[in-house]
Symmetry: C2
Subunit: 394 residues, 2 copies
């Protein structure tokens, strides 16, 4: 057969984009173990252990805490498709790509969608969301905790309080926060939460951790129309993940091995230590970028994600050329902007195993070198120097 | 943290159930390579090479031939959700679990579903399906080529001809046939086909190869309502897999490495040789089982799958105990029956790398040993002897 199908060898990359993040060799080795069946007693034990660790990491006792067999966006769709019925009023906070995606998915499920828009680079105003919630018979409120497209950390407490005062359910997107920022579903009163594996959990992409509390499951049970998706129907998924262990789909065995090992590593590090590590390297990176004369897309430091750092591209710089030089010369992947921010920002993911002191220093030095080679007037070394200072004081 | 989360080591298993099948070490090693980004130029090349090989294996020139980021059932849902709109008439041939699942998915999409039922263990009568097609304004005809729950190979030509005479689109489930039986979409005139990776392609579960021809894509384009699933919307997926390379979801990178390598191995073996290998070991196994006095669930040899062999459990035998002994004493996984066949059949998957001469002899010998230890009167060695004869003459 045509040998051109074989492709080239996979290059080494330093993964500092919006995901996937670096995956530890221990997780890769666990993933590559020989397969066993998805109903094998040994596999069912691994599922149990995975659920137990997911509950710890998500800060919840929710029984129905498990992994959807798809990527983060499948987790989003699972959350929406199970709760929303045609005609339901759904309020969505939108200040980036993923809020907009939530609104689109709710619309496709026949919801009456009310979006509360915010500037791309700041959280959505919680008071405005609260106002939208009380303006009608709201059933679901959906909000992105960590907006990957802008680097914004959204405050949740006021929104959750307003939703619960109206008896509405709260869906939270924690794709880019889980494992990097505190996420405490039960303390916060989140009803449904979804995430992805390829961000701060540092597992390959392909599974979506989700959690439904009893209130949310009750809502699913009381639907007057069937869940439109068979694949993502939480009632059917409960048959497999719950006591019955009934066949539903063939679980992605290798991905399940990987998630199990990645969660073990999260638990071994400890959540507090892991969050602080993300914070420390975020502060070091920001100090370096600002010392290079750049401006963060998110102005208020309190609203900046530790896991995803969005910075304005300096005037007159060809952002795509810089990214391309980082990739081809240094093997470093960073992200560009999406939607209205395309061409205007760079996104530096410091998630999970990618969030290291080495990577802070390396990417700043490489960025200085790339700007220098593209003839941008700057003082090479300033960014690295500032990061060294910041890392030393923290 | 609690050490009890770490679980036990993964045991070695001989995988002769309905999937997953054995995955070659070469595929496991490819899967465990370090990750690169899902928009990395090197990854896009790997996607191109994967599409090219998928087209070869599926016997099609369809541009839109790619891998859905989910298991085989997500491939099924992608096929249905894109073609079906509320009120559409959909005819489904049902003689097992997966035909019934197709009907259920079509119903959840608001279709007017007409099922044509067949006995579990024989194909659905093509003439009855043709009759159902002409009885109304049929838009989609869905049929399972290889029914994993019964071991039936469904003849397709008469059904496809009847559908096309009415201008209806044909969806074919090739989950358990692709890579083990000939599948030639373009020669046969199949409009949409989906499969899974964990059967005769011998790749871990987690991706669903699908193919849409231009006629099917035209139908999607002309919908009057939006596709209900955002995650599985083929128009959006085309944005990522097609020329634009626009971000949609984060591709399951490691699974994509695995599928690429598994397809390389299929292409290196050659499709004809691979199909003949599946046929040969099927005939050897059947000879052995029949020599042991057992009866195949599918009476007509022409309608038996080579990849999935369903045999009636002998009267008076506790089928679960035998399966359990095979698993715990010999490390061999076989499948039980589903739905109305629960407790009545065993299913032996000989798919991809699991379809070997060694496995034919091993599973027959182990089954003889298990029946012997459970006190079933039989002549040990008879099954193995018959298989040796059959393998020698073929």
């Amino acid at each position: 057969m045509d040998k051109s199908t074989s492709g080239s060898p996979i290059p080494e990359r330093v993964l500092l984009g919006p995901g996937p993040s670096t995956v530890d060799g221990r997780v890769l080795r666990a993933m590559s173990r020989p397969l066993i069946g998805h109903l094998d007693p040994e596999f069912l034990q691994l599922m149990d252990a995975t659920q137990k660790m997911l509950r710890q990491v998500m800060g919840t006792d929710n029984r129905m805490t498990f992994a959807i067999p798809g990527t983060g966006s499948a987790g989003m769709e699972a959350s929406i498709v199970n709760l929303v019925e045609p005609g339901d009023r759904v309020v969505v906070a939108v200040c980036g790509v993923f809020g907009a995606r939530l609104a689109e998915q709710a619309r496709r499920n026949g919801a009456e969608v009310v979006t509360v828009e915010g500037e791309w680079g700041a959280p959505v105003d919680p008071a405005a969301v609260a106002e939208a919630i009380v303006a009608g018979d709201t059933k679901v409120v959906a909000v992105v905790h960590a907006e990957t497209s802008t680097g914004v950390l959204q405050p949740l407490d006021e929104i959750i309080a307003a939703a619960h005062a109206q008896d509405a359910l709260v869906v939270v997107d924690a794709v880019t926060s889980l494992g990097g920022h505190p996420v405490r579903l039960d303390d916060w009163g989140v009803d449904v939460c979804y995430s992805g594996t390829q961000k701060c959990l540092s597992c390959p992409p392909g599974l979506a951790p989700v959690s439904f509390n009893d209130r949310a499951l009750e809502c699913v049970k009381n639907r007057s129309t069937p869940v439109r998706s068979w694949y993502l129907d939480v009632g059917l998924l409960d048959g497999y993940w719950g006591q019955d262990r009934a066949y539903h789909h063939t679980a992605p065995i290798s991905m399940a091995y990987a998630l199990h090992e990645a969660l073990l590593m999260v638990c071994e590090e400890g959540l507090d230590a892991r969050h602080q590590r993300h914070r420390r390297h975020h502060l070091g990176l920001v100090a370096g970028l600002e010392a290079m004369g750049m401006r963060m897309q998110v102005e208020n430091p309190e609203h900046r994600l530790w896991s995803l750092n969005a910075v304005r591209v300096p005037e007159g710089v060809d952002e795509a050329s810089v990214r391309s030089e980082l990739l081809t010369r240094f093997g470093i992947e960073i992200g560009g902007g999406l939607g209205p921010l395309a061409g205007q920002i760079w996104r530096f993911g410091f998630m999970g195993a990618s969030s290291t002191e080495n990577n802070v220093l390396l990417v700043l030095a490489a960025l200085e070198a790339a700007l220098h080679s593209q003839g941008v007037a700057a003082a090479p070394g300033a960014g690295v120097a500032a990061a060294i200072e910041a890392l030393a004081t923290d």
